[in-house]
């Protein structure tokens, strides 16, 4: 008689009850494991603070020496523009080129501004005045920025000054023209790298937390034998996956919120776009990341393997292939292609677009669509792979 009773197709309600049971149980696991709890709730904010302070592309107070061979009111006025800039820290004046050379060798300065004699005369006669800015190419970030800043300075100095770029350490002169400081500062006028980094950092951190944690979840069920017990129940694999994802989605969401708030309050991150679109995209992204973790979990033979693959798949691509720190246009083409295989790059674009540019669905729908497709594929794949592994 019970046999007949069971033949009615599983109803939606009983499916929801099972999903709820799995989700509730996952929450209990979470709350009872202090390490996981710390990883999920405290680590992200810690990571944010560490990364945001430690990874800085801000260049300020670059030690600079001035060699004024002209020594006229005009040349002194020109040099003064460097002294009053926050970027250059003019330590003093050199007497000759030999001394400049020595200062470079001793690593005491990174920039030397050389105003040759005849500077004032050239200006007076309406010719182009020559100025040399030497930079220490062994530290490319400072060097490139120094050149960019010097260009900007010269432009603001309302005289016709042509800077003759000379490079001590073999920086390609042709590159100089390619540096466009305005591009960098367009949506970030103060040039603060934390503003630029945090929207991406948020994505990286979520990626690490979620992939790492879900990577072990199915492996653990298998190792504990509880996975087998679930097989001997009407629980469908899809229900198991959804039940496992629910608590993590909520937590990842809480993490994103915390990071965003710290970013806004502590680092002065602007939020120019719509919060609704950001939230919706975040949910899709979290599903994609969790699905990636589940795939690892479905195929990994042991907890150790799951942990390490989780780290490799979450950490490295999130860091290197998401465009969070390194522009994706500047990495080798094969790696650019590889970057499409990880959800990070789509979400970094969305996050940065919403926070910094005020972009929304109209501009970012291709990324959102890519993320949605990605999430669907990885979740289905993890479900299929888990079944294959367990029978």
């Amino acid at each position: 008689m019970r046999l007949l009773g069971y033949e009615s197709r599983p109803t939606m309600k009983s499916a929801l009850i099972r999903v709820g049971a799995v989700a509730g149980k996952e929450f209990k696991h979470l709350l009872r494991d202090p390490r996981v709890l710390a990883t999920v709730l405290i680590l992200p904010v810690l990571q944010l603070l560490l990364f945001a302070y430690a990874i800085s592309f801000d260049v300020k107070n670059v030690p600079t020496v001035v060699l004024d061979q002209d020594n006229t009111p005009a040349s002194r006025q020109y040099v003064q523009t460097y002294r009053s800039s926050e970027f250059f820290d003019v330590l003093g004046s050199a007497d000759d080129l030999a001394q400049v050379d020595q200062l470079f060798d001793q690593n005491r300065v990174r920039i030397a501004v050389i105003v040759p004699s005849g500077f004032a005369r050239s200006l007076d006669s309406g010719e182009k005045a020559q100025v040399a800015v030497l930079s220490d190419g062994s530290e490319p970030t400072s060097a490139q920025l120094a050149q960019a800043y010097a260009t900007a300075l010269n432009a603001s100095y309302d005289q016709q000054v042509v800077v003759e770029w000379a490079d001590r350490q073999g920086l390609d002169l042709a590159q100089v023209g390619a540096i466009e400081p305005r591009l960098r500062t367009w949506y970030n006028p103060e040039g603060k790298s934390s503003t630029f980094l945090i929207p991406g950092l948020m994505v990286v951190i979520i990626m690490i937390v979620t992939v790492q944690q879900t990577a072990v979840t199915l492996v653990r069920e298998r190792e504990q034998g509880t996975g087998e017990q679930m097989t001997v129940s009407p629980l469908r694999r899809g229900e198991l996956m959804v039940g496992k994802l629910l608590p993590w989605t909520l937590l990842a969401f809480a993490d994103m919120l915390a990071i965003a708030l710290v970013g806004i309050w502590v680092f002065g991150l602007p939020l120019r776009g719509g919060i609704g679109f950001l939230a919706a995209s975040s949910v899709v992204f979290v599903f994609a990341a969790l699905g990636l973790g589940l795939i690892i979990s479905a195929v990994a033979p042991s907890l150790e393997t799951a942990n390490i693959s989780g780290l490799l798949i979450a950490f490295l691509p999130a860091f290197l292939l998401s465009g969070f720190a390194f522009p994706l246009d500047s990495i080798p083409t094969p790696l650019q292609w590889l970057s499409y295989a990880f959800p990070g790059r789509y979400m970094v674009t969305i996050s940065r677009g919403v926070f910094l540019k005020g972009a929304g669905f109209a501009e970012l729908w291709p990324e959102l669509a890519a993320l949605a497709g990605y999430a669907l594929v990885v979740l289905l794949a993890s479900s299929v792979l888990y079944r294959r592994r367990s029978t």
């Binding site: 069971y6 009983s14 049971a21 799995v22 087998e228 017990q229 129940s233």
Partner: protein, 321 residues
């Protein structure tokens, strides 16, 4: 295989069930029939295929050959109809260590579709029947071996299955807890449940109504405990000696000795020679210079039958090579 006529008369009917792992043929075309209401014991040495067989019947593992019907439903084609009627208890502890007894029971019963009120009632009943009530909120990680096994059995019973598939349910459990566990099984048997239990313990095998002896993936002998014991030919002697290993070595060469093995600190000898076995053994061993304090005839028990069957199976395999 779906035969509604006798669907509930036969709890298990396996036909040619087989499964390999790599090159190892773990279960090799097993035929098995278990009538409803029986306690059926599965015996056999380690690696004989007991777990694999049970896992296939529990729909946890897909068979490669053959099929099995559980109350008339194929484990291959309609596992959804098999699952509600079975309870499967694996050899290893398979509850969540960080959930309490009550939470584990509740979780698995929820998955099984037992309603909330019913879950609470049954968990209460099972916990009190098994003496687990005072530990209800203790996390499974901190339970003793015996309590862990009882928790698993309780979880298996929450949805009131008609067939219990128990894979060495008392391994690693102290004798008192084992006896208690079997007392619970006896109660289930009286309530009309069918139990298939794999066990390495011969005293447990004696409690089963029917036994199948599995070796190298095949059932080589089945019958009641008396039938199984009857396969042992000749007489059994127990030799008490201060030097059992020396006796074991000396006794194996004697004509009339079918087999010999250590049983605790006595040597058990299966004698298939003439009626004067005791005298013959004593004089032979004296001649060999080993000291034996007593030679006593012993009753053929499950232990002896198990040793005999395992031994003869090994001889067949060696001869087959």
């Amino acid at each position: 295989m779906n035969t509604p006529m006798n669907a509930d008369a036969l709890a298990v009917q396996a036909l040619g069930l087989g499964r390999s792992f790599g090159t190892n043929r773990a279960v090799d075309g097993v035929h098995l029939t278990i009538p409803t209401g029986m306690i059926f014991g599965l015996l056999g040495p380690d690696g004989a295929g007991k777990s694999t067989l049970i896992r296939m019947l529990a729909t946890v593992l897909a068979p490669e050959t053959g099929d099995a019907a559980i109350f008339g439903n194929s484990v291959r084609r309609s596992p959804d109809r098999v699952i509600p009627r079975i309870g499967y208890m694996s050899q290893h502890f398979s509850m969540y260590p960080d959930l309490s007894i009550a939470e584990n029971l509740d979780f698995f019963a929820t998955l099984r579709g037992v309603g909330r009120a019913e879950r609470r009632r049954r968990a209460g009943e099972l916990m009190s029947a098994m003496g687990l009530v005072e530990f209800a909120s203790r996390r499974a990680r901190y339970l003793s071996g015996g309590m862990k096994q009882k928790l698993m059995l309780a979880a298996t019973l929450m949805h009131q299955p008609d067939l219990l598939l128990l894979d060495e349910p008392t391994t690693g459990v102290d004798p008192v807890s084992r006896r208690e566990f079997w007392r619970i099984l006896a109660g289930l048997h009286r309530a009309g449940k069918t139990v298939l239990v794999a066990t390495p313990y011969m005293d447990e095998a004696e409690r089963c109504g029917y036994l199948a002896f599995l070796s190298s993936g095949r059932i080589i002998r089945e019958g009641s405990p008396a039938d199984i014991k009857a396969v042992v030919p000749g007489m059994l002697f127990e030799l008490t000696t201060p030097q059992p290993r020396a006796v074991l070595a000396a006794v194996t060469g004697i004509p009339g000795v079918r087999s010999a093995h250590l049983y605790g600190d006595v040597v058990r000898v299966l004698w298939i020679g003439d009626d004067r076995g005791a005298a013959e053994l004593t004089s032979r061993l004296l001649a060999a210079g080993v000291h034996v304090s007593a030679v006593r005839p012993a009753r053929v028990d499950m232990e002896a039958a198990f040793a005999f069957l395992t031994e003869s199976e090994r001889l067949i395999e060696v001869a087959g090579l």
